[in-house]
Symmetry: C2
Subunit: 340 residues, 2 copies
Amino acid sequence: MRKVVSSGQPTIKEIAKRLNISVSTVSRALHDHHSIGLRTKARVQQLAAELGYERNQTAIFFQQGKTFTIGILLPELSEAFFSSAISGIEDTAYSNNYTVLLGQSHDDEAREKQIIQSMKQHRVDGCIVSIGKNTRNYEHFEMLRQAKIPVVFFDRIPDLPNIHSVSCNLESGTVQAVDFLLKKGHRVIGMINGPEQLVASGERAAGYMRALHKHRLKYDPELIVNADLTAAGTAEAMKHLLSLKRKVTAVVTFNDYVAMDAVQYALKQKLEINKDITFVSYANTPVSSYTAYPPAASVEQFPYEQGQAATNMLLSILNGDHDFNDYQQLIMESQLVLHT
Amino acid sequence: MRKVVSSGQPTIKEIAKRLNISVSTVSRALHDHHSIGLRTKARVQQLAAELGYERNQTAIFFQQGKTFTIGILLPELSEAFFSSAISGIEDTAYSNNYTVLLGQSHDDEAREKQIIQSMKQHRVDGCIVSIGKNTRNYEHFEMLRQAKIPVVFFDRIPDLPNIHSVSCNLESGTVQAVDFLLKKGHRVIGMINGPEQLVASGERAAGYMRALHKHRLKYDPELIVNADLTAAGTAEAMKHLLSLKRKVTAVVTFNDYVAMDAVQYALKQKLEINKDITFVSYANTPVSSYTAYPPAASVEQFPYEQGQAATNMLLSILNGDHDFNDYQQLIMESQLVLHT
DNA sequence: GTTAACCACGCAAGCGTTTGCGTAATTGGC
DNA sequence: GCCAATTACGCAAACGCTTGCGTGGTTAAC
C-alpha cells in the first residue's frame, strides 16, 4: 500500500495528462522553449496557472545537481557584526536567486564540523564561513575542497594556503588608530588583542608596531596582551596593563564589546574615561553612539559590505568566472571613525 | 554527449557494483536494517567509510517529499531582537536535525511574498515568520496553508483567525511598566506606539489603559500616538506629546531603539532625562546597559526563548503531535527590568 | 516429513524534472 | 519535384535513493 505523499501539488505529469501531450512538451512549454508551438505553449501555461502549478524544486535540485543554496557558517548569529554581515549576504544572495542556509558554531569546533558536514550533505553550492575563535583543525574545510564545494572565508580567516577570502585591512586601520592616539599625545598605548591564531589578531599587532615604528618609538611587548574576548578575560588583560610601571593612558581593544567591558573595569578602578585613560576599538557598532562612554574612535569594518563582497565573490566562482585554482583574496580598507 | 555532473561523490550504486550486490541491499545495510546479514552489513559499511560515501540529501529530500528544513522570515536580520531570535531558532532546529533557510523582508510586503514563494518552492517543511510592519495582505500565507506547510508566527503576529503563534504578553508587561511610572509619581504618561495594525501595538495600548483603569485614572487618547518606528516618526511623535497642555513627564516607547531616538529628541529640546522626562521601553536590548541615557526600565521580551518556543511548536506540529486544526498560541510572560 | 517461520538478499517501481535524440509534417529554395 | 532546413512534438533515460514484494535457502516445531 503506497503512501500518498502528493500533498495535492500538481505536477508536470498532471498537466500532460489533461492536455493529452507528453511531459517533455509541458516541461519545454513552461520554459518557453523555441521548439514548442505557440498554441500549445499558451494552453500549457494557462492550465498551469489555473492549477496553481509550481515546480518542485527538490526534484530539480536533485536532477541538476545544483541547489542554488549557499551555506553560511558564523560563530554567533546574534552578534551585531555578524548579523549585519548576514544581512548583506542574504540581500545579495536573494537578488541573485540564491537562498541561504544558516548555521552558528558558537565558537565550538565540534559543532562547526557538524554544520559543515550537514551543509555538505545538503549539497549547498558553496559556503561562506567565519571560523570559530578556537578552531585549530581545518580538516572539515579540506573535505569541502574535496567535494568541490567552494568556500569563501570572511573576517575570521584561517591561516591556510589557497583559499578565497574577504576581509578588512585591519593593519592600516590600526595604524590610523595608533596614529590618532599618538597625535593626541599618548605615548604608552596598550592593546587588548584577540586569540593569537586569528589572522585578525596578527594584523592588529602588525599595525600597532608599524605605527610605532613610523614615529620612531620602540615597542614594548608587555603592552600587547592576547585575551579571549570574554568579560573576564578583558578584565584580566586590563589588570595586567594597569599594573605596568609605565602608565598606560590609552588602550586599543579588539572590538567595541571588549572596549565596553574594559570601560567597565576602568570605571571600577575609579579611572576617568577619556582623561585618565582613552579607548579606541574596532567595529564601530552602531549602538556605541548611544553609549555612555563610547570609545574615542573605532575602526569601521563594514560588515554589511563584507557580506556583500563575500557573496559576490562566491557567486562569481560558482558562475565559473575564474580558474579553479585562481584563489582570490579581497581586502577592503577599514576606516577609523572618530566619536568626538 | 552526457555531461558528467558526478563531482566524484560516490553513490550507493558504486558500492553495490564493487561489492557485487544490489543497491537495495546497500541501502538497507547503511540503515542497519534487520534483514541484512551481519557480514554484508560490515562489508558495506567499511567500504562506504573507505570511499567517504555520503548520502545525497537532495535525492532523499526529493524521494521522501520532506526536506528537514524550516524557513524563517524576519523583517530585519541585523536587528538585535530578531538576531537573538534567529539564534534561538537555529539552536533548537539544529539539535533536532533540522536546518534553517533564511530570508529578510525589510518590511517590504512584495519581498515578503517573494520569499514565501521561494520557500514554498524549496519545499520547506514549515515556516517561522514575523511579519513586516506594513503588511496588510495575507494571501501569501493562505497559499502556504493550501500547500499544507505549517507556519508559526511569532512576535509580529497578523490579525488572522486559525494560526499558530508565539508571542509575549505585552499587555501585562505594559501594566507593570505603567504601574512603575505611576508609583514614581508620574501622572501624565505618553506612549509612542507602533503601527496600528500590529497586534503588539494593540496589546501595549490595552496594557496602558488597564493600568490607568486600575488606578482609577481617566484615559486621554491624545497621549497615545502611533508612529512608524523611524527616527523621524519618533521625533514627530515626541513633538506632539511635548506640545500638549498637560505636561508629559514620562513616555513609554515601542522599543529601545525608539527610546534612544526619543531621548535624542528630548536632549535637543534641552530636557533633562530622568528628571524632566522619564522613558520606559520594551526589548531590554543588552546594549542599553552601556548606554548614556538608558530607559529607566525596559520590558524584556525574551527573543531567544521565543525563538526556541516557536521552533519547538513547529517541530511538534511537523511530528503530527496535534490535530491539523488544533491551533496553538503560546503566550510568554514579559517582564519589566529596572535599569536604576 | 510437512508446514511455518525466519533469514538474506534481489527486482523494480517510483519520486518530478530535464534533455538528447528521433520522427513526422510542413516549408522554402532551386 | 527533390533535398534541406525548420517546426512541433514524443520517447526514454537519467539523477540517487527507498521500499513493497518476491524468492530461494535454512531452521524449528509438531
